[in-house]
Point group: C2
Chain length 240, copies 2
DNA sequence: CCTACCGATCGGTAGG
DNA sequence: CCTACCGATCGGTAGG
């Protein structure tokens, strides 16, 4: 492999060495052997971009055709590579899928975290659990059907194709994502505004929203946010 | 194909000739050429059974591993056949999938129809829409997680693998299945017991229930019928 | 990242 | 329904 640039694409992370959620390694600090100002080769400069292009093409194709029905050649062609080249960036096809799904979860978590932070800043508190739930639902709907939807939809649809270690890591991310919903549902339940136990409510609410990827289309009339508000109206009862 | 028994397995139906939902042909009346008491060959006697065995094995394997990840050889081996033999019963792998999914929908419709008939007999009417919805939900939950669940779960998960004609035929069956829910939801809405428009409610309710195939497991504590009642409590408000 | 290639698997068929 | 087989495709690799 003498052709490889000095700085190998370490993100070829083997899921086998990912023991827990903490294994989402940020790009390792470059180890530079030369002294003085390092000169980058053209290949090196583009490497991150090419990898991201692969990731996005894979997300789109896996989303449209399914993981099994998409060949690594399809992905390569979509970014103008030759058939063997994706394996320079990802060790296996399964690693590519995993990278797509992890990206989907990380983005979702980041967006939700940003939302919660801004809500705290604007003093939205647990005194208005319905308002909080509305924001959570609306953000989730945007994640499902807005920019980057392909990543999260692949994540929701291709679970079976992962191995046990990969599933465990993503399960942990999912728990992180779902955690902030729990106290909100709990608060609603305590006020008599939720007609079933909060844990089950969470599962049913996510089901109602996630399933929309099978039927919701922005073109068919009705915006995504209307869908979110419909669900809110359906499950949250007026304060007694 | 001189080996074929006198009565060919006509259910090798090409989706191409299925113009509408009416195309679900009941087994064609046997055309017998010989006179007197017809003698059946062993192959002939078993043909329907072997086909059903293939169908059930396919449903199970498609459900567990996914359609693309299951080879026709897997299905053949599961019923003790050789690799080429499934193609005696089904023209293509896609036809086998379609047969599984159609079977799933037909069974679901039949079970729901039986339920509604028995409810009418016991004089459950639209005067108690909540009671009706409860029965519909409970039956749906049994269809999803009881006997024969593999068929309907394949139907819900492998939609993408069908061609347009097959999708259209199954869409029609789905409409038949969903039709009886509409007036029930409408009645609840009119009484102020449903917090959103009935059409959207139907989609969201089916989503909440269908998504349970991704998380519900009978072993994890909590029965399927408890899940159904939880959803009922979540979405139906007490009469004002 | 490209070239050239390999072994395996797969859907499907002819012929009995 | 079995036998024997074919053409195509696919994930992945060596070597530069």
């Amino acid at each position: 492999m003498s052709w490889k640039p000095t700085e190998p694409a370490t993100d070829k992370s083997n899921p086998g060495d990912a023991v827990g959620p903490s294994a989402q390694c940020p790009p390792a600090a470059p180890v530079r052997r030369g002294r003085g100002r390092p000169r980058k080769t053209a290949a090196e400069r583009d490497e991150g971009n090419r990898r991201r292009e692969l990731l996005h093409a894979a997300a789109r194709l896996f989303c449209e055709q399914g993981f099994d029905a998409t060949s690594t050649r399809d992905v390569a062609a979509a970014v103008g590579m030759q058939s063997g080249s994706p394996f320079y960036h990802f060790r296996t096809k399964g690693d590519l899928l995993f990278a797509v799904m992890r990206q989907g979860m990380q983005d979702a978590i980041e967006r939700q975290t940003r939302l919660l932070k801004s809500l705290r800043k604007s003093e939205q508190t647990m005194d208005d659990p319905r308002g909080l739930l509305r924001h959570l639902i609306q953000q989730h709907v945007r994640i499902l059907h807005g920019r980057g939807q392909a990543f999260i939809q692949v994540m929701l649809h291709e679970w079976r194709a992962l191995n046990a270690v990969q599933q465990a890591e993503l399960k942990a991310l999912q728990r992180d994502y779902e955690a902030p919903w729990e106290p909100v549902l709990q608060a609603l339940h305590q006020r008599g505004q939720l007609g079933c136990e909060p844990g089950l409510a969470r599962l049913l609410v996510f089901g109602a929203l996630n399933w929309s990827m099978h039927w919701y289309s922005p073109r068919k009339g009705g915006s995504a946010s209307e869908m979110g508000d419909a669900l809110l109206g359906l499950i949250v009862r007026p304060a007694p």
